[in-house]
């Protein structure tokens, strides 16, 4: 059933675990990008290029300067920048995860509601879409103020803002996934006199899982952005948002700090999406095609 070429491919590659392979690729591509950056600086300085970007050390600091900056004290006599950023990342990630879970649950609920009722979909979908076209920068201060009036802790307000960016992809993809089963499959369930709930959990949700995981990956990064943006009006200095704001104001003199912060922020996003991918592989993979394929090969 599996042709020879595909078989050979699986065999040579299955000796190295998947995560090792993807890590190696990540490192290789990062190396190539760094090389491009530095090459541009060398060639650009030599030829006196000023467009699109000046290759000077403020606009485009050396990569090693950015990394070195991470190991310097952020303030004279203060803590190391990397340490501060790691603490901030932890704080921000906590808000993001809380918002992600909350937004994910709400998004899933909206998907289920819309699948059940075309009327609800027609009535509420415009508002769901509109909610995403209003810039988060406008929503964030409102949430912070309302949260303050309700005596929410600020991190909770930030999590709500993160949830606001999270629920939309989950709702849209859940709905699409829940509608993905073949109509015949639904009729089959009806012929067993299955209740709508049984059809939901035994047919529609399993069929929707690949769609939902795709949405969760989008939402994972969106929730980090939501948390960072949410921290700005909340005005506390514990998260990545305040760091990014401070360092961007000091960009003209101390650009490596901002770059260093950007690097750490991206790593937070990559870590979060990595966790979701791992879960996807475990949950969808076990029952779905990919892992079953591998198992079949191991058995045969």
């Amino acid at each position: 059933m599996v042709d020879a070429a595909e078989h050979a491919w699986t065999e040579t590659h299955s000796r190295i675990p998947r995560w090792v392979r993807s890590t190696l690729w990540f490192v290789a591509i990062s190396g190539a990008l760094i090389a491009c950056w530095e090459l541009y600086k060398v060639v650009g300085t030599g030829l006196g290029i000023v467009r699109p970007v000046r290759p000077d050390n403020v606009t485009m600091p050396h990569v090693w300067d950015m990394i070195a900056e991470l190991f310097q004290p952020a303030r004279r006599g203060g803590e190391m920048l990397l340490w501060i950023l790691l603490k901030s990342s932890f704080w921000t990630l906590r808000e993001a995860i809380l918002g992600f879970v909350f937004g994910g649950v709400v998004g899933f609920g909206i998907g289920v509601l819309f699948e059940r009722s075309r009327l609800a979909e027609r009535a509420f979908m415009p508002y769901v879409v509109a909610s995403q076209t209003v810039p988060i920068l406008a929503i964030a201060p409102m949430v912070v103020v309302w949260g303050g009036q309700l005596a929410f802790p600020q991190w909770l307000s930030v999590a709500v803002i993160a949830a606001y960016l999270t629920f939309f992809p989950v709702a849209i993809n859940t709905l699409r996934g829940l509608r993905s089963p073949n109509p015949t499959a639904v009729e089959l369930m009806r012929s067993y006199a299955a209740t709508p709930n049984e059809i939901l959990w035994k047919l529609r949700v399993p069929a929707a899982l690949p769609y939902i995981f795709t949405a969760l990956k989008v939402s994972a990064t969106a929730s980090v952005i939501g948390a960072i943006i949410g921290e700005l009006p909340a005005g506390f200095g514990d998260g990545l948002g305040r760091n990014l704001l401070n360092f961007s104001q000091a960009f003209a003199v101390q650009s490596p700090k901002l770059y260093g912060t950007v690097i750490v922020t991206s790593l937070v996003g990559i870590f979060f999406v990595g966790v979701i991918s791992f879960a996807e592989h475990r949950i969808v993979g076990v029952t779905g095609r990919r892992v079953a394929d591998a198992e079949g090969e191991a058995a045969g």
């Binding site: 059933m1 073949n182 015949t184 499959a185 009729e187 089959l188 369930m189 009806r190 012929s191 067993y192 006199a193 299955a194 049984e198 035994k202 047919l203 399993p206 069929a207 899982l209 969808v284 029952t287 779905g288 095609r289 079953a292 079949g296």
Partner: protein, 257 residues
Amino acid sequence: MSQVVIEARGVNKVFGRTGPSPVEALRDISLSVAPGEFVSLIGPSGCGKSTLLRLIGDLVAPSSGTLQINGKEPHQARLDRDYGMVFQRATLLDWRTVGKNVELPLEVMGSDDRQARARQMLELVQLGDFEHHYPWQLSGGMQQRVAIARALSFRPSLLLMDEPFGALDEMTRELMQQEVLRIWRETETTVVFVTHSIPEAVFLSTRVFVMSPRPGRISDVIDVPLSHPRDEDTRESADYYEKITEVREALRRQERP
């Protein structure tokens, strides 16, 4: 159990009755099917044979007329799990193993002893070794066998099959026909079989309902008294060819009324 499994009297079906262009799918359908019969519905596209099957299976409701299954409304019969259904597409759930697919209806019905029952059904369709395979690892014919095992797993009194072998190649198709007849004899289930293949209808059925289109009606009912068990020799017998001719002529007559 009552002496008829399916009893239809003057059943009509109009789609889009309230809309601007209603379509009359079935007109004045009357038929009665006894327990243990194997009946086929045959006719050209648009004759409403699938619609009639779906009416019997309570997937659509008749517009008028009376239809009773085992002496009950079709809706009640569905709630009582009187129907096993097999469609042209096997419609197995990708994320479940073959065994778990066969267990699905039993799960919904909350039956005990699901795994043993599923194994037994897979043995019946001669796929005992494939319990732990995934559907996509199976050929089209094997998938359709799984679909049959799944439909029979809860011992329905009526098996409804909608062109189940329409997507299979000719050789597999003939094999599957033998299989279905064997299963039908072993389980003594009543079968309604929709097809557009004349030899298939004749080979399988005890009775063939010939339908004509626009609107869908039953134009002829042809008894097929070929002896059972039917096998490869049946396919080469003169009686078999005679019946095929009879059905073909019944279908031809429709073209020039």
